[in-house]
Amino acid sequence: MVNLKINIAGIKMKNPVVLASGTCGFGKELADIFDLNILGAIIVKGTTLLPRAGNKPPRVAETYFGMLNSIGLQNPGVAAVIKEKIPYLRSFNLPVIVNISGNSKDEYAALAKVLSRTEGVSGLEVNISCPNIKHKHAGLFCQSLRDIAEITTAVKRVSKVPVFVKLSAEVSDFKQTVKTAERAGADGLSLINTLRGMAIDIKTRRPKIANVIGGLSGPAIKPIGIRAVYEAYNSVKIPIIGMGGITGVEDAVEYMLAGASAVAVGTATFYDPFASVKIASGLKAYLERNKLSSVIKLTGKVTL
């Protein structure tokens, strides 16, 4: 009997395998393919205060064992998410974490306030690392320690549910970055978001995605994600949801050994809709094979 259950920042999950934001919509479409209840949690699509049309297509391009995307946070806005999307998910038996995006700390706080008081929302993932929307200042919020602190503090002040801060590895001082989020009160971290990348069609000489620059995801970035989780695990005490290129159970185990308490499956769902389900059952088999009683015994257990 192996135990796959985890309790991550107060959120109880039946196993550590979750669906990554932006790669599972609001659950409905995948529920048509497999039973969502098999998974540990779902992190739904990036939600903003107002509806967003998203960026002009083409929005994706394939790269070497990865892909670029620039969806631009297309979503129906928080009111519709609360009215239409969350109630649907309540019929399942798995925690729902809502991924939130804003243009200012006040927007983040407003989203956190209403969503954390919505029945069926178990946690928030604060996306301050989205490469596909433009803010007043040039970079990503998470590229400024001050913005990280301010937004995290603002969200934590109003949130009734655990808050995961989602960061990028595209920063000059990654350890300070994660420590800043922890100090500002984050209950957990989500690592990593996509990395800013670009591809050009050499025939048309145009960028392959309309928005020019997009976010790189998929197996190509896995070594960067593993490194980020490893460094974060050794810098902070709060738990980590690891992601970036997870395709199979081996990748999930690698992330957990590096320091992740849970793992999120993103791009892999696109090429194998069952990837997350296979990882959940694969983890069980892995624990049995390796005579480990509980999945939490993997976290951070890389041997130096």
Partner: protein, 256 residues
């Protein structure tokens, strides 16, 4: 319900127009498949391309389906090398197919490029439903025309090497002048520019028109929002998913 299955390849052979025709034994109930729907194929089990390739359904012959495809790049390149007996991961059926609006007795089918695949599928269905059918096919030149199993199809080629010299919409324009707008319906599938031109002709003649769109797709099942096209709404436009809200749209609703 969408399903993912390991389909067994029955045949995979070159056919006319430079296309390949593959028959796959698909364990999901091919009886529920509607013309205009598509599948996505994992052309390389573990390697590149990572992303599945969408393919329109060309023939519905439970428990088999067939696809008609052109060898373009990495994915279709691998596809063309697959042999009978091998298996391939098939996800489907995906998307909304063509529907026959109430009271329409005759249909004009317009196909360009690999758009001929779902059009040929629809032809079989309409024939069974005893709908009167006119077919027009457009291509650059004769060598690219696929008209097998489409008797009476009228052809337009850009260089005049087969049928009329000109665009498929020139042919369509002529046809529309002769038919009744209230009992007819146009179904089109092909490159976006062609669909746009077809929609214009349809509008001019006030004939109901459904087009099947294409778009770059990462997931094919509605979760990634990569495949959008713009639909008109009161406030301007709204992006809808080709894979799930389409691929078949009412031409009048599209914000070209």
């Amino acid at each position: 319900m969408k399903k993912i299955i390991e389909g067994r390849i029955i045949f995979n052979e070159k056919t006319s127009g430079g296309y390949y025709n593959m028959r796959i034994k698909a364990a999901w109930n091919a009886e529920n498949v509607v013309p205009g729907q598509f599948v996505t194929l994992k052309t390389n089990e573990n390697g590149m391309p990572l992303i599945r390739r969408p393919m329109g359904i060309f023939k519905i012959a439970p428990p088999h389906i067939e696809i008609l495809y052109k060898k373009i790049g990495s994915g279709t390149g691998l596809l063309s090398k697959m042999k009978p007996g091998e298996t391939i991961s098939v996800l489907g059926p995906l998307g909304n197919g063509f529907t026959l609006p109430e009271g329409r007795k005759s249909a004009i089918l317009v196909g360009g490029g690999y758009g001929i695949s779902p059009i040929a599928c629809l032809y079989e269905e309409l024939k069974r439903k005893k709908v009167k059918i006119l077919i027009v096919i457009g291509a650059k030149n004769k060598s690219l025309v696929f008209k097998k199993g489409l008797p009476g199809a009228k052809i337009a080629t850009e260089d005049g090497s087969d049928g009329m010299k000109g665009l498929v919409t020139d042919l369509l324009e002529k046809l529309c002048q002769k038919v009744s707008c209230s009992t007819n319906v146009i179904y089109a599938c092909g490159p976006e520019q062609m669909l746009k031109a077809v929609a214009k002709v349809a509008k001019k003649h006030n004939i109901s028109c459904s087009v099947s769109m294409e778009a770059l797709m990462a997931c094919g099942v509605g979760v990634c929002l990569s495949c959008v096209c713009a639909l008109k709404v009161k406030s301007g436009f709204e992006y809808k998913r080709v894979c799930t809200d389409g691929p078949v749209f009412d031409a009048g609703e599209l914000d070209w």
